[in-house]
């Protein structure tokens, strides 16, 4: 079953299953690294209900500021 990242709507990966079988699963988005548990409220798990102010556009991710800055030798490689 495919899982969609609620934050940037990319395809996400299964990271973990609950020790008690069937209780929950944890997913992680390889694009924006958003992580969530299957049993969290829909305001966290559903793309259409995720807080719009916290949505991430994958196109913006490479523009995020580096903290701390990268030394010059790693820039523009």
């Amino acid at each position: 079953m495919m899982h969609t990242c609620p934050r940037c709507e990319s395809k996400a990966d299964l990271m973990a299953k609950s020790p008690v079988e069937g209780a929950w699963e944890v997913y992680m988005c390889p694009v924006c690294i958003f992580t969530w548990r299957s049993i969290e409220p829909e305001s966290i798990t559903k793309p259409e209900k995720y807080n719009r102010a916290f949505k991430v556009d994958p196109a913006d991710i490479p523009l995020a500021e580096n903290v701390p800055p990268l030394p010059a030798k790693y820039v523009n490689k």
Partner: protein, 472 residues
Amino acid sequence: MAYKDFREFLTKLEQEGQLLNIHDEVKPEPDIAAATNAMSKLGQETPAMLFDNIYGYTNARVAMNVMGSWPNHALMMGMPKNTPLKDQFFEFADRYSKFPMPVQREEKAPFHEVEITEDINLFDILPLFRLNQGDGGFYIDKACVISRDLDDPEHFGKQNVGIYRMQVKGKDRLGIQPVPQHDIAIHLRQAEERGENLPVVIALGNEPAITTAAATPLLYDQSEYEMAGAIQGEPYRIVKAKDSSLDIPWGAEVVLEGELLAGVREFEGPFGEFTGHYSGGRSMPIIKINRVYHRANPIFEHLYIGMPWTETDYMIGVNTSVPLYQQLKEAYPNEIVAVNAMYTHGLVAIVSTKRRYGGFAKAVGMRAMTTPHGLGYCKLVIVVDEDVDPFNLPQVMWALSTKMHPKHDAVIIPDLSVLPLDPGSSPAGISHKMILDATTPLAPETRGHYSQPLDSPLDVDKWEKRLRELMQ
């Protein structure tokens, strides 16, 4: 007195009625963070919480709010739990002045019991969960992160133990926030200039002296381990890592060994911060974990951070105030009485001081802003007389109400440095700062009508002591 490990401190808290065992079944989200946030609303004397029935886990235990009150802070120092805050401040200052206390080295530690080097999955090892609704993932935010100065690796004091927020970003990957002002950023810079990864160790679930020292703004070459020893009044116990020369707190529940990857930045956040605001998404370094050890059935200690006050504010209150106090005393040893820099890590600080002459208090305010911590904090410094207790906010408000004249006593200094996480700074990292001089005018500054301050009835001190006895 020293607590040998995290569990011994929890036992002490339980004996003192400062640990609440929660056997109710809780969901990882939102229950644990919600309960901890709610606990912070119940006053300044709240207990730690130990959750042992977490939905989906078989035997996980999560400890929260461990140092989230003044009684727990007093017990951290081995003092009676009802010790007044001002007394805790002066006791901490006394122990701080006994730095450095030599460390005690050990060969084996309880966390060596279980060791994992293959198929590491942090999500299976730790009962991770979300703290705040806008957080980008599950974080580790109360662990000690240890690294060394690569240019001076034999210098024990330049080994750093700090607490940094870390986002779990994979089965064996963490994101970390080393802002440029942090000591670990110096180590990372050295490693990246060489093109090498930086060895790091992450210790979770520690007794509280090292957590306190790691959260204290020490100088770069001062050892947190030698400060932890000074705080607990006994040598601090450490044990060597296997993959590096780093030293690890002996009493840790879980230890992760790994390396900060040179030249790598990856999208991280947002994360609800101690300023009561989320930090935005930024690109930050990555730690790859190569080895994990833990005690059998480890306790996961976590920290809820959010709208102040939370455990964070108790954890970084006294230990932020004391270095400022000591540094101000170096400049004005006969005048400085006490410093309260407990508000949002010292963005607001209150200094109680004697004055030599008119204008003196304003100089004290400026000196607070130029201490190492003040360069990133002290956006507002309130200066009060020596007989005003800076930890007693009604007294401070009285001083502001009656001693401060806005025309003479409100001083704004433009465009100074401040931590970039200050949401009011513009650009991030730059802010005007302000001194409010709420001391009594003193010659040659003669103004106002302050010649008849109220005295107290005779024998008030005697009665205060007696009433405390009667109310025990």
